[in-house]
Symmetry: C2
Subunit: 311 residues, 2 copies
């Protein structure tokens, strides 16, 4: 495939075209993914997540610039749950373009939900593989870490950075959103604002509670950054690199990779099995069963058992 | 089943026990759901969602009290993505208990994520059915509407109420989270705070844009409430009742019910098909394929196709 060869060469037009095929779930995308796959596995995958307003886009932007300073390359995937209608994804791109346009060492792509959630997670997986195969040293995956699904997407990374900002109410928002458990590195962004030290202390207390239970494990550092002027960003990249070294030294990188693959295979299998069942039974047959459930003649569990028996 | 009979009678201990079986995915839960199912379909299902800090729990509490004033009964399911460790779910229950304890016309249950996301969505579906079958007139489903998965859960309701609060930054948070598209009723809660009118106007502008495209449809009203003292809550319940009448009159209730059932059946089928495949192939066989993917010998799509062929 010409498109795959061009994408492997890092051709930006080919990358954009291939990602669009993935988003549209075009039949050609699957073949392309199979062809690309042997070239993956080299990039470090970094998830960046945090509550709305914590400054994720700005920090990801600053991280990409720091990565370029060190003459490494970065792919950025911004996963945005809001629809194109509300403009979230578009705005994010525009802000980034101002700083990163024209640099061939950076590739930015926003992804919005089209249809199902499972679809978005799988499309994100595939875009990560495309950028990995294209040779980017680092792939940054940014999600609005406020929902369970966004947390799932962030977990596909090897290193997960959780952001918090001071002055967003009395409580630590990341705590409320259940993000602490997945954090490899904690960042108090907007550290020039009042309350930054208090937010850092609040995070410290939670980390200490965790640490008491598991003293051998990685201790998530708590860093402070001002993404807007780049303060603390070199230290953050150092911490990310150190975490990667820790993952490699302890064998955890292989374990995370294995979990990544398992989660992905389960998702792909579920969809494939369902597609095959529906095309074998026929859409009308399934619809008749749905009508019977609506009429309370039979429940979904019984229907599922019976339909599976027919396979 | 004795437990099912007691739950149908509204016995609180039986309800709590049954819900625990569902959460634990106990084998007995499925039989119980089949037995309960013919008794479902009478409750009005109301989803309440909004960004963290918009006052969802307090409003749901106030709504339940108003429902009781009218001598109707309410089941409340608070879906909380944060883990028990962070205490979110527990706190919510405690706040509610103060006002609603001892009233047999209200039943409150918090549900936190245990394991997978799909698991939480399905468990929530089942708990809705339990409370419906037990005879509650209304089932309120509260989710932290900040992620796509929480939006999916809110969509299982017939009437979805989206909350916003003033003074949470310059932008309308619900807009950012992509909640506007699913709103049947919009509420500016904490309406005594500065900026409430501005927030309402911002919502009005978005609604107007939508309205221009689809003039026959339901126009989501924008209400203002102060959940803490109950202001505006009777009007909100009136709007919910009016929306239900609209759904019935237009045949949309049947359509939403059909979509609910279809989504649920698809989820149950996916899991059932996967479980059967794994138990047929054996866990070790699947693990060997995962290892081959990790080694980049083969990609997940190819593996999925081959495994499905063996069925």
């Amino acid at each position: 495939m010409e498109l795959v060869a061009a994408a492997l060469d890092g051709d930006r037009y080919a990358l954009a075209r291939l990602i669009s095929l993935i988003e549209d779930r075009h039949a050609a995308a699957q073949d392309a993914m199979s062809a690309l796959f042997p070239h993956t596995g080299r990039a470090h995958l970094i998830g960046v997540t945090g509550p709305p307003g914590s400054g994720k886009s700005t920090l990801v932007n600053a991280l990409a610039q720091q990565i370029r300073e060190l003459e490494r390359t970065a792919g950025i995937i911004a996963v945005d749950p809001s629809s194109p209608f509300t403009g979230g994804a578009l705005l994010g791109d525009r802000v980034r373009m101002r700083d990163l346009t024209g640099d061939p060492g950076v590739f930015v792509r926003s992804m919005a939900t089209r249809g199902s959630l499972g679809g978005l997670a799988q499309a994100t997986n595939d875009v990560v593989k495309v950028l990995d195969a294209a040779g980017f040293d680092v792939v940054l995956i940014e999600t609005v870490g406020a929902g369970q699904s966004e947390v799932e997407i962030a977990r596909t990374a090897y290193t997960t950075v959780v952001l918090e900002a001071p002055g967003m109410g009395d409580e630590v928002q990341a705590l409320k959103a259940g993000l602490m458990e997945i954090a490899d590195i904690l960042v108090v962004n907007k550290a020039d604002r009042p309350g930054a030290a208090r937010t850092a202390r609040a995070l410290e207390m939670v980390i200490d509670r965790n640490a008491a239970r598991d003293s051998d494990a990685w201790q998530p550092p708590i860093l402070q950054t001002i993404a807007l002027d780049g303060s603390g960003v070199p230290e953050l990249l150092d911490a990310i690199d150190e975490h990667r070294r820790h993952l490699c030294a302890t064998g955890l990188l292989a374990e995370r990779e294995r979990r990544r693959v398992e989660r992905e295979l389960v998702g792909v299998l579920e969809r494939e099995l369902l597609d095959r069942l529906v095309s074998r039974l026929g859409r009308e047959h399934l619809d008749r069963w749905i009508e019977r459930v609506v009429a309370r003649e039979v429940d979904v569990y019984t229907v599922a058992s019976r339909l599976c028996e027919t396979v």
